[in-house]
């Protein structure tokens, strides 16, 4: 049986197909019409069952005939599949960030998620990259090369941007500002992780895990080793594709 996991995120859509193992994975931009994008994506795939997760799950699942699971469950199952000894997942996606604690058996034991704003999420980094006139893919390296750092006090995207603008106006070098921004996010994630607690293997997933500076700072702050999957963005889609295998 071929199953599909569809993770309709706020910034990207992720697709994973599964038969006896994970087969194809794909990451694409969500755009302004996620339903049409998903329909296009699925028209080329033969599958028996589908599970939809992510921000757009309630929009897409009824239209395409899939079941719905929350991102929390999808990430739990996906991370466990990739790393059977994983008990903690840190996920920083486009507009939310979460920390999930699993039992030894792989059930969700506890989780925390940001409430409402984009503070400390991928979107935050995107906007800051724009302000610093670098590509999002280069933001982490810019920060890693910094010789000094500055303190960024605000994590609200709007306030932080004006803070960055005033730092730029003061003549501060962009590397130092980038490092300050990463430190602010890492500290927020670390606080959330400490509230939930971390155990055993800690998997760092979501688009922000591609950022080498964030990876290093979160690991330093938490004093744990982080495992970043080869494709950190598709963990939720993989989990959904596995859940689809067992859905009746």
């Amino acid at each position: 049986m071929i199953s599909v996991g569809l993770d309709v995120g706020s910034r990207t859509i992720k697709v994973a197909t599964f038969d006896t193992a994970v087969r194809d994975c794909l990451v694409t931009e969500t755009g302004a019409n996620p339903l049409r994008r998903c329909q296009e994506l699925m028209s080329g795939i033969n599958y028996d069952r589908m599970v939809v997760t992510g921000y757009g799950r309630h929009l897409v699942a009824p239209a395409l005939g899939g079941e719905i699971v929350s991102e929390i469950k999808a990430f739990a199952v996906g991370a466990r599949h990739l790393y059977p000894d994983c008990c903690t997942i840190i996920d920083i996606g486009g507009q939310d960030c979460k920390v999930i604690l699993l039992t030894d058996a792989g059930e969700v034991q506890k989780f925390e998620m940001n409430d409402r704003c984009a503070a400390g999420t991928g979107k935050f980094l995107e906007i800051m990259a724009d302000t610093l006139e670098v590509k999002i893919s280069g933001l982490g390296n810019l920060a890693l090369c910094a010789t000094r750092t500055v303190q960024i006090n605000s994590l609200c995207t709007v306030f932080a941007e004006s803070e960055v603008v005033s730092l730029i106006a003061r003549g501060e070098e962009s590397g130092a500002i980038a490092l300050g921004l990463h430190r602010a996010i890492a500290s927020r994630i670390a606080t959330m992780a400490r509230r939930v607690g971390t155990r055993k293997r800690v998997v760092f997933a979501g688009g922000a895990a591609l950022n080498p500076c964030l990876y290093r700072l979160v690991a330093e702050q938490l004093e744990v080793e982080l495992t970043v999957p080869p494709q950190p963005q598709i963990v939720g889609a993989v989990g959904a594709s596995i859940l689809a295998q067992n859905f009746h």
């Binding site: 921000y55 929350s70 991102e71 929390i72 469950k73 939310d96 059930e107 998620m113 409430d115 409402r116």
Partner: protein, 425 residues
């Protein structure tokens, strides 16, 4: 009837244009949240009718009462002893404070970083969109939070306001202070109404309010059953309406509803499948028409079976002990009863986590959702203690901080879905 209402609202100096917008917004929301529910008890018809004419028929009753010299006393909080109001022949009404609609109006004056309940209630007065506020002769506030205290000062510039001092501790001295506040409130009400509160009248009022509390207890007790015979949303609505309906009629309606639910229980008939996750909601009050959390929870396949809040158990779980026909003892019994509300305004307030643990067991709850309004520091901070206690007891907990707006509905839905998945296994 519509024209008659418009005439009444005009007389009450309502901002008709704004009020129309509010009413037009409420209809579709009520349709989506309430009327679309399946398998509702017929007894909810009364409450649907009340909401359908929410600013009409009851306001008209209050106006009739006022025409013969009667007074209307508006409140925002379960600490205000309504028995004294009834005993003086006045009518107490709990005011609405549960909609985003009046929040932007309030933000023209109040700081944005203020809880939605405070902003909503102030906005109703400032924007002249609530006929209950307009029809009341006195608004009685209380000192359960700092934001409210200061808001009442500003409200007092627009309409007569009297503030009762609720103590912050539960010591003997605090009890004395509160007892004194109850006595002072009696004087205020007597002065307002020109009626002397006698032991006979107060005894009748105690009985009147106790009977409504018993009816609400009966309703809640029926929710302990699996499958639960009524949705949490409907139980909430019945409770919310109790804040402003006539106590005697409300008691009758509640008991009629419970008679029907008794039959459902006997027939094993529920509103949700037997295995639907059972949720206990605990925290800040759900002032009408705030149905946001209940709707999210119940449209995700779970059912709210109990609410530990001021629109739930804290409103009715204790009765005033009948004290015969001795006025002093009656007043003491009233003071004792109200002082025993386990509100987060007290420090310490360890009885509240005890209540939640006990209620979770009694109502066979699969999990607790702790709900607090953003900027409600007392409940937000008490949630830390609550979390520790529930973890110790092995009761799953989801903590939610939100307001009346819909901007976080997506994130809330994700968290609630994940929580239900977590407690289902």
């Amino acid at each position: 009837m519509a024209n008659e209402n418009v005439r009444m609202w005009t007389e009450l100096n309502i901002d008709l244009k704004s009020h129309d917008m509010l009413m037009n917004a409420l209809g579709p929301i009520f349709q989506e949240v309430y009327l679309s529910q399946k398998n509702r008890p017929a007894g909810m018809g009364f409450y649907d009718f009340v909401v359908g004419d929410i600013h009409g028929i009851r306001v008209k009753e209050l106006r009739e009462h006022a025409k013969t010299g009667g007074k209307v006393v508006a409140t925002y909080c379960v600490f205000v002893p309504e028995e004294l109001v009834w005993a003086a022949g006045a009518i107490p009404v709990g005011l609405c404070a549960g909609t985003q609609f009046s929040v932007p109006i309030a933000e023209e004056v109040l700081p944005r970083n203020t809880c939605a309940l405070i902003k909503s209630s102030f906005g109703f007065k400032l924007g002249r969109v609530c006929p209950y506020v307009q029809a009341s002769h006195l608004i009685v506030g209380e000192t359960t939070c700092d934001g409210k205290k200061k808001m009442f000062e500003m409200l007092g510039q627009l309409q007569p306001v009297y503030v009762m001092e609720v103590p912050n501790k539960k010591t003997e001295r605090s009890r004395e202070l509160w007892h004194g506040e109850v006595l002072a409130f009696k004087d205020v009400i007597e002065q307002l109404t020109g009626t002397k509160i006698t032991a006979k009248k107060l005894g009748q009022a105690i009985d009147l309010v106790n009977k409504r509390r018993l009816a609400l207890q009966r309703l809640y007790n029926l929710c302990k059953v699996r499958p639960v015979p009524i949705s949490g949303k409907d139980a909430l609505l019945a409770t919310q309406v109790s804040f402003y309906d006539d106590a005697q009629r409300d008691t009758q309606m509640l008991n009629a509803l419970c008679d029907e639910l008794d039959k459902r229980v006997a027939a094993g008939q529920g509103v949700a499948p037997k295995n639907a996750p059972r949720i206990l909601v605990s925290g800040s009050p759900m002032a009408i028409p705030n149905w946001k959390l209940h709707h999210l929870v119940e449209s995700t396949g779970a059912v709210v079976v109990c609410e530990e809040s001021c629109t739930g158990t804290r409103f009715f779980s204790d009765l005033v002990k009948p004290a015969g026909d001795n006025l002093d003892e009656q007043l003491k019994a009233i003071a004792d009863r109200y002082m025993n509300i386990h509100c987060a305004c007290f420090t310490p307030n360890d009885e509240r986590p005890d209540d939640v643990v006990r209620l979770a067991k009694e109502y066979q709850a699969d999990g607790v959702i702790h709900y607090n309004l953003q900027f409600c520091h007392t409940y937000a901070n008490e949630a830390v203690k609550m979390a520790k206690r529930l973890e110790k007891e092995g009761i799953p907990l989801l903590r939610i901080e939100t307001d009346y707006s819909d901007e976080d509905a997506g994130q809330l839905r994700t968290r609630i879905e994940a929580f239900l998945e977590m407690i289902k296994h």
